[in-house]
């Protein structure tokens, strides 16, 4: 999937992936795509919930074993 930047949140547990995601998004521009890498099982539900609450679009997810990849397009 095409992306503008990657945020590596592997090894981090709740709430840090979401906290770091919110910080990263502030540095980015509207329409850009962020790839988020995480291995916290909670992220599976947390990232879609965060996207729906903030109005950013989750345009894709991938799972490779324990690794979760999320693609967030900024509003």
């Amino acid at each position: 999937m095409q992306k503008d930047t990657t945020l590596d949140a592997r090894g981090l547990m709740c709430p840090m992936p979401i906290v770091n995601l919110a910080k990263k998004v502030k540095e980015m521009k509207s329409g850009q795509v962020l790839e988020l890498l995480a291995d916290d099982v909670g992220a599976k539900e947390d990232v879609p919930a965060w996207c729906s609450r903030t109005g950013n679009a989750l345009i894709g997810t991938e799972e490779e074993g324990k690794l979760l990849k999320f693609y967030v397009k900024l509003k």
Partner: protein, 134 residues
């Protein structure tokens, strides 16, 4: 109704210290306004240099917990409060408890406000989520 989360924290142990910070920073990261009111044994958590311990006999395992959390990127209590404040989370110490327990305003972490029950209840009455951590 405002997109607002209000929490009351009435205990000062490690678990009760981190729960509102985890909820609060997550909510703030989602654009929600957050207010956390510390009362009775929770008030001590708003003093400078807090090192909360797990409850009862589990207190012996506090260091192990802290290490695991640090390895997973979760900051120490003081740092996490600071981080939450930077994200816009509001922290309040209960004025009555401060009197009962002899806590002075100068004992509190910078940025913590002193509040009474009526003022907090007004905030809570206009919130869409209220949680009690006790």
């Amino acid at each position: 109704m405002a997109d607002r989360l209000c929490m009351v924290v009435s205990e000062g142990t490690f678990d009760k210290a981190y729960m509102p910070l985890i909820m609060g920073t997550t909510a703030a990261a989602s654009g929600t306004e957050v207010h956390v009111f510390y009362t009775f044994f929770g008030t001590g958590l708003m003093k400078k240099n807090t090192k909360p311990k797990l409850p009862g006999m589990y207190r012996l395992f506090t260091g192990m917990f802290q290490k695991k959390m640090a390895a997973a990127g979760v900051p120490k209590h003081d740092e996490m409060v600071k981080q939450a404040m930077d994200m816009g989370v509001n922290f309040y110490a209960c004025s009555t408890t401060m009197k009962l327990m002899g806590v002075k305003e100068s004992d509190l972490k910078p940025g913590v406000k002193v509040l009474g029950a009526a003022a907090f209840l007004k905030l809570a009455s206009e919130a869409n989520t209220t949680l009690f951590i006790g």
